[in-house]
């Protein structure tokens, strides 16, 4: 790729980026959010069309104006969000969209799929329905799909975000097999230890510009971070000791069923203490969302469930079960919640920062009219303190980048002066800089005596940040462990096995 430029309106997503991808090599593409990694790869796979620059494949200049062009050139991309048809089998998904003559011979497809699997060490059953697959199986299927179409250049966009450590190891093993077979592989990731682990070369982008590339063996996480951010950044997360922890929230036998009547969270019992960060680990979809939403009053809970809030100072107890967020607020409980779906639940996308600041406070004051002044002041404060990049406090928040959206949301929730703060995937999709800002904010809250419940997906972060880690497995708590002494492998085991003690032995 040479001198590739892509602009979106006034935003230059890629500015004359030149990049070489070699056969038989795993290249990590590293950069903060909004640095243009995904845009660059989307141009390679035919989703976007570059505004300027040239692309060469095997020395030949090519024009890629559609995903089909990309396929014909042997370029395949595995997206963060899988593009599979749930009610089809693996084999049917693989041939979907392929042009073929005459009869569709699924047996032949199955045979070819097995051949690919054997060659690289995949584990895919061609006849399994996609809806019966786990996340990691679906991802495997996506990779097989791309290989089936004869791709020589594979692009993986944050493939490990949804995987457990064990699954990640498996994926990396497969990637190494593909490398040995002469494929060129590009992996986009935020996790530096994975970069160090799997790749041969690292290319760094910053603010749409190509910073440079280094051989992985010649660098370390600290150097890479400095390249990405453009200045030195401290890479360890503090874990100040909890000060005077007191029980703040007692969750007892919390059980939640979804609309179809399937139990998604079963008999959860734990205590959240003030001045500590309780991390929640688990494969995504293990009941984290339901746990937080049940506490926040957004889920119907089964009889027998109790969420008891213990007031600071007075020690008075309130059962929050069955109350909606407004009633919980009216009890005087300062419960802040940063939900997973930022724009779909935590914020109103079409409104500006001001409109979003008053989401929970608009009802204050007498009279039928809203008072925008306090919100507008709060918006200005948050914009300055958290360095939110926005053209103005009334600019629609959904047009902001992911990191800035999260700053707006976290800023508002912290400004509400919480005694309990719950966050779901608070740093998902955020770059290193913003992530560390969020960790710092959470630690500040913790030191102020706030009880923090932190649902995360990056185990390395959980192990560094959380005082205790609650591990969920398929809707049940498989254990609560001490964050300082537990190992990553142990947590990974607990995520996949309820009776992990036996599995360990």
């Amino acid at each position: 790729m040479k001198d590739i430029t892509k602009t979106f309106g006034p935003v230059v997503a890629n500015d004359k980026v030149s990049l070489t991808i070699n056969k038989g090599e795993i290249l990590s593409l590293l950069g903060e959010n909004g640095s243009g990694k995904t845009t660059l790869m989307n141009m390679l796979s035919g989703i976007y069309f570059p505004d300027g620059g040239q692309i060469f494949v095997n020395g030949q200049e090519v024009t890629i104006s559609s995903p089909k062009d990309a396929f014909e050139l042997g370029i395949g991309m595995i997206h963060q969000h899988f593009k599979l048809v749930d009610v089809f089998t693996a084999a049917e998904n693989i041939v979907l969209g392929l042009e073929g003559k005459g009869r569709l011979d699924l047996k032949e497809v199955g045979r070819k799929v097995r051949e690919i699997c054997d060659r690289y060490g995949f584990d895919v059953d061609p006849n399994q329905l996609v809806c019966d697959m786990s996340v990691s199986q679906k991802q495997t299927l996506e990779i097989v799909k791309v290989l089936y179409r004869g791709a020589d250049i594979l692009i993986l966009d944050e493939p490990t975000a949804v995987l457990t450590p064990q699954e990640t190891d498996k994926l990396f093993a497969v990637m190494r097999n593909m490398k040995a077979d002469g494929k060129a592989i590009v992996i986009i990731t935020h996790k530096l230890h994975e970069v160090m682990d799997v790749s041969d070369r690292v290319a760094v982008l910053r603010k749409g510009q190509y910073i440079g590339d280094v051989a992985t063996c010649d660098t370390d996480p600290q150097k890479l971070t400095d390249m990405m951010v453009g200045r030195a950044v401290k890479l360890n997360i503090d874990r100040p000791a909890p000060v005077d922890p007191q029980d703040r929230l007692r969750v007892e036998h919390l059980t939640v069923k979804d609309k179809e009547g399937v139990t998604v969270l079963s008999d959860a019992t734990f205590t959240l203490r003030s001045g500590e960060i309780l991390g929640v680990a688990g494969i995504s979809g293990s009941g984290q969302k339901e746990l937080l939403e049940a506490i926040a009053g957004l889920q119907n809970v089964e009889p027998g469930s109790r969420v008891v809030y213990i007031e600071p100072e007075s020690g008075k107890e309130h059962d929050l079960c069955g109350l909606d967020p407004l009633k919980i607020r009216q009890l005087g409980v300062h419960l802040s919640f940063v939900p997973e779906d930022r724009l779909g639940m935590g914020l109103v996308g079409t409104m500006g920062m001001t409109g979003n600041m008053m989401l929970k406070t608009y009802g204050r004051g007498h009279g039928p009219l809203v008072d925008r002044r306090p919100s507008s002041k709060l918006a200005t404060d948050i914009k300055e303190q958290l360095e939110v990049m926005t053209p103005g406090i009334n600019y629609p928040v959904r047009r902001l980048s992911g990191g800035n959206v999260q700053k707006v949301l976290v800023g508002r929730e912290i400004a509400a002066d919480p005694t309990v703060l719950m966050t779901a995937y608070a740093v998902r999709g955020l770059d290193i800089n913003t992530s560390y800002t969020i960790y710092r904010l959470l630690n500040e809250q913790k030191q102020k005596g706030v009880a923090v419940l932190y649902v995360g997906e990056d185990l390395d972060v959980l192990l560094e940040l959380a005082d205790r880690i609650l591990v969920l497995c398929a809707g049940q708590i498989s254990g609560i462990v001490d964050g300082a002494s537990v190992t990553k492998e142990q947590v990974g085991l607990m995520m996949t096995h309820l009776n992990w003690k036996e599995a360990e032995a």
Partner: protein, 367 residues
């Protein structure tokens, strides 16, 4: 830097605009209106061999040619505007209220009933009774689908649509019951001699009161949606019901409350249509305006002041079309084509406001 791609470059590419200044957006709208007139002119000239300018002049005359015509145009603009203003809070909440027709009709029925059964009441009292009755009837008609949606999450689009047919049948029943003279299958002008229950003339104009009432509602709705707590709730619910629940807003309550308001204003439109305009009721009293008003509300992006302009444009086109149809012996299709072309260009201009085109070999924006 563009020619190096070789010949396979797409000819035109579409890119989303990040922002556009207000004057620029209005300039695009104006240009598209002018373009529409040019296209219409070519069409008029090539098909019917007439001077397009003449045709446009007679369209203008049809709508504003005399003081009487201008007032009738104003009356119809106010009617359409009133319904659109009524629909605005519902659609802003993403509640697909396509039941304005029915809400207008029930408002009209109760108004007609008051005129027929209570003509002996003093004028101002009768006026207030009719006002209250039409508001209530429209509110009831509007709130029924909202109750079902809040309680059982029924589909409001189908529900409000079907409520229209119930209202039409109800109107047919009332027409049969109040038939005058018997056998005519219509009601005729109610209180032709006494004018009981008719809007009084203000400043010597029969429709001045229509304008006053609708303008008050238009201004009130603007501030209700922009500045009130309830307006804020409507905006949040319309954006995301999950966000609303997260904020502690009771979504069902907002549905019900807003549909009471929306239905009541549409019922009021029925009151204005019967008491302030036709002085009779029939199944065509709403006349499809409950649907046209949806276009008005969406085109104006729920800004009630913009709705005034759009209602004016639509009514003007309608009046002008009727005029040229009669003046030049064209059939209705010719004038409908003109209306269609103009609407097409105006709707199309929104595309150019949101996107820009980039041509191969150029880096020029095309608006």
């Amino acid at each position: 830097m563009s020619d190096i791609h070789g010949g396979k470059d797409p000819l035109v590419r579409i890119a989303k605009r990040s922002t556009i200044s207000k004057p620029k957006a209005w300039a695009i709208r104006l240009i598209s209106l002018l373009l529409a007139l040019v296209v219409c002119a070519i069409l008029i000239y090539s098909i019917v061999k007439m001077n397009p300018l003449q045709v446009y002049v007679s369209m203008w005359k049809g709508a504003f040619g005399s003081s009487r015509r201008a007032w009738i145009t104003a009356r119809d603009v106010m009617m359409l505007l009133c319904i659109a203003v009524g629909l605005a809070p519902a659609f802003k909440m993403k509640f697909w209220n396509i039941g304005a027709e029915g809400q207008i009709l029930v408002g009209g029925i109760v108004t007609a009933a008051c005129m027929i059964y209570l003509p002996q009441l003093p004028g101002p009292v009768l006026f207030l009774v009719m006002l209250a009755a039409s508001l209530l009837a429209g509110a009831v008609w509007g709130v029924i689908p909202a109750l079902f949606k809040a309680r059982w999450n029924t589909n409001e689009t189908l529900f409000t649509l079907m409520m229209n047919y119930v209202a039409i049948q109800l109107t047919s029943f009332c027409v049969a019951k109040w038939e005058n003279p018997p056998g005519s299958n219509s009601i005729g002008v109610i209180n032709q001699t006494t004018h009981a229950g008719w809007f009084p003339s203000l400043f010597g104009q029969a429709y001045a009161l229509n304008v006053i009432i609708v303008m008050i509602i238009t201004v009130a709705m603007f501030f209700y949606l922009r500045d009130s707590k309830q307006g804020y709730e409507i905006a949040v619910v319309g954006e995301s019901q999950n966000t609303a629940r997260y904020a502690g807003i009771s979504v069902g309550k907002v549905f019900i409350r807003t549909m009471i308001i929306s239905g009541a204003i549409c019922g009021l439109a029925g009151f204005i249509a019967v008491s302030g305009a036709s002085h009779t009721i029939s199944t065509s009293t709403a006349g499809g305006r409950g649907f046209t008003a949806i276009i008005v509300a969406w085109l104006a992006k729920f800004n009630t002041f913009t709705m005034i302009l759009i209602s004016l444009l639509l009514v003007f086109l309608d009046k002008g079309a009727i005029e040229i149809a009669t003046a030049y012996n064209l059939n209705d299709y010719a004038s409908e084509m003109i209306t269609g072309i103009i609407l097409f260009f105006i709707l199309g201009s929104e595309f150019f406001i949101n996107y820009r085109l980039i041509f191969r070999g150029h880096h020029k924006e095309v608006e």
